[in-house]
């Protein structure tokens, strides 16, 4: 397989040897970081957990003063931050197995569960396995549009997609519920690819997890504040909403900004490790920002590094990024990054544009990857 990338100065050709070389360089980088994991990374994740628990307790406590608007707002903010840290820098990363090497009770990919309605085991299947293994491969990676949105030109338009911006808005507001039902693959039920009976165990798990979350946020904690029941209920709902808006926005910046490429099943059927790495680099996008921004985004702002090394502790991504970027430059591969405003703007533009049939949209050519297989060129990602 030869991979060509169209850069500004025309196509860049990567020979199989170069792909191999790139893969080796990334393997070496991985090995170096892996060998260095230790006390520092352990201290880091525990510090984040302590901070998160601090915000959580503060948020719950502030609700007792919820009748005063500034305290109510502060409570919502604290609880929102707590849920964001829990879901992203802690939950997402721990459930990826990034801290499994610590062999710590509770802080590992088998035991950890996060503060959202989505059960950990279901998310691990659709995310760790389907999404991370088949990243941006059509009909394999269900994160391309999550079965409800048209987010890539490679998805064929139909009139349903006229509602694209509305679906996206609803998904944003109800994001934790969207993540929960993701594994049900409701669209496949409608298409008849999946049986209702397949859903039973999934629904059972979702019901169990969601009822615990609902009981906690919408019954028990409000009840504990007595006469402030409704204030607290509204505050907890607002905190969940804050988390939904934020996580949706960060996650959509990971694979959907302009320039990110998608692939077909045929193109990726037999892949070497080097080719897998190249696909991950082409299929992900980073967000520039401060250290605090990276922590609050669970380091998914280093989506490229995360997709190359999904099980390396996320606090290492900022250190690895310059080397990954240098490698991308060396081989002429794009390294998609930008400020949050640019990336999220580009995502929403795509959501609106792709609602329309192709003939109504003036297509702006984006650099595509040409994958040569059996000496036959097919163009994808355009």
């Amino acid at each position: 397989m030869t991979i060509l990338t169209e850069g500004k100065d025309g196509p860049v050709i990567l020979t199989p040897e170069q792909v191999e070389e790139l893969g080796q360089a990334l393997d070496d980088l991985r090995a170096r970081v892996e060998a260095d994991l230790g006390e520092r990374d352990r201290d880091y994740i525990y510090k984040i957990i302590k901070t998160q628990r601090g915000f959580e307790i503060a948020g719950r406590g502030l609700m007792y003063l919820g009748f005063l608007p500034p305290f109510w707002l502060a409570g919502v903010a604290a609880l929102g931050v707590s849920k964001i840290l829990d879901n992203m820098e802690i939950g997402h990363n721990v459930m990826h197995g990034q801290y499994d090497w610590m062999r710590e009770r509770g802080i590992n990919s088998r035991e950890f569960d996060w503060d959202t309605v989505c059960p950990a085991d279901q998310w691990k299947h659709s995310h760790n396995y389907m999404h991370h293994t088949y990243t941006n491969v059509h009909d394999m990676d269900r994160d391309i549009g999550y079965g409800i949105l048209r987010i890539d030109e490679g998805q064929k338009w139909n009139p349903y997609y006229l509602g694209n911006p509305i679906y996206a808005f609803l998904l944003m507001v109800l994001f934790e519920w969207g993540v929960m039902v993701h594994d049900l693959e409701a669209d496949n039920i409608i298409k008849g690819k999946r049986k209702w009976s397949d859903l039973k165990p999934l629904l059972k798990g979702q019901g169990k997890k969601a009822s615990k979350q609902v009981l906690k946020d919408y019954v028990v904690f409000p009840a504990l504040t007595g006469p402030l029941f409704l204030h607290t209920l509204a505050g907890n709902a607002a905190a969940n909403l804050v988390r939904n808006l934020w996580t949706f926005s960060i996650i959509f910046c990971g694979h959907f900004p302009a320039g990110v490429q998608t692939f077909t099943k045929e193109e990726t059927e037999v892949e070497t490790r080097g080719e897998w790495y190249v696909r991950q680099m082409l299929g992900s996008a980073n967000i520039k920002g401060s250290k605090l921004f990276h922590i609050m985004s669970g380091n998914l702002s280093h989506q490229i590094e995360h997709h190359l090394f999904p099980d390396i502790p996320a606090n290492r991504y900022p250190e690895m990024a310059p080397e990954v970027k240098a490698l991308a430059e060396k081989y002429g591969l794009p390294y998609n990054t930008g400020r949050f405003s640019k990336q999220i703007g580009s995502v929403w533009a795509k959501i609106f544009l792709l609602a329309l049939p192709d003939r109504l949209v003036k297509r702006t050519p984006t650099p595509g990857v040409i994958v040569v297989r059996n000496r036959k060129a097919t163009e994808v990602g355009v």
């Binding site: 610590m102 009770r105 691990k124 299947h125 009981l215």
Partner: protein
Amino acid sequence: MVGLIDLVQTLTTPHPLDRYLELVSPALTARELRAEITHVSRAVPGSVTLTLRASRQWRGHSAGQYVQIGVSINGVRHTRCYSPIDPESRGDRFLQLTVKAHPGGLVSNYLHDHAEPGMVVDLAPAAGVFALPERRPDRVLLVSGGSGITPVLSMLRTLDAEGFTGEVTFLHYARQPEMVPHRAELTAIANRRPNFRVEYRYPVEPGTVIDGETSTGSGFFDYDELERVAPWFADAQTFVCGPPPLMRAVQTIFEAEGLADRVHSEEFTLTTVPADPAEATGTITFSSSDVAADNTGASLLEQAESAGLTPEYGCRMGICFSCTATKVSGCTRNLRTGELDADPDKQIQICVNTAVGDVDIAL
């Protein structure tokens, strides 16, 4: 109490209450067993004796049983088994461990060098069938070698504390007198109780040069020794813990005498030495399914499937961690990095690991 914890956990869900409490203080846990080191003694060279105060979940131990101690070393939690040396059922939450620093032993050396009062360790409830029977036998023979002294020391101290009136012989093998932990106490017991006999042996290894002469080895356990220290051994219950050659020697003699059912021993295996990774040898035991198969050198996932098992898996290339399983014992090699791993009780990705020699996987 349990009901109350469940109630509080409706507030901390999805995290267990202990995940909050441990951030306040590591020894403050509602469910999990932990222990705080309260006293450290390094009186005997090469070993350290720790006194621990367990959290309130501790249910004590039977003399001879072991506990698991977990400590974090350079960010990684390591767990090892140690036998408490104190008498059983003291009704309090204290336990004592003597840890010998083995050459290359990560945890034993760490505890020897770094254990200090205030340190909190993970603790697992006492386990193991190597223990004094509830109904004490009339005669008890205890044989130990090196750091194998710990479980039998607990037995001896238990019998002493109970005012045992039968006959007891304690026979211990060590390199030199000063390497015997708790020697003063052992001697004190022997002096106090005429029915307790305490004997030490310092065998000479074959090949040792003494006064210009190379010894062929002497002072090791044999039938004559047994007759000397416990002529009543045929009527006794015998408990042995020590290095494999000592255990073999005792077992061989008891088997020859037709007394195999009267000798109880505690395996005392050191970490498996990694074998040549190029050779696929040994047997893979899938202990949760009670299935075993000859190692073919393929990934453990493939071998499990060939053996008719259906373990959970995902990417089959070491990314998704769907297939992670517990390696109970043995040495494995990472197919991607070539790295060997001989740590027991470790979570491994079975799709990218293969067995090097005998391996036990909890599948």
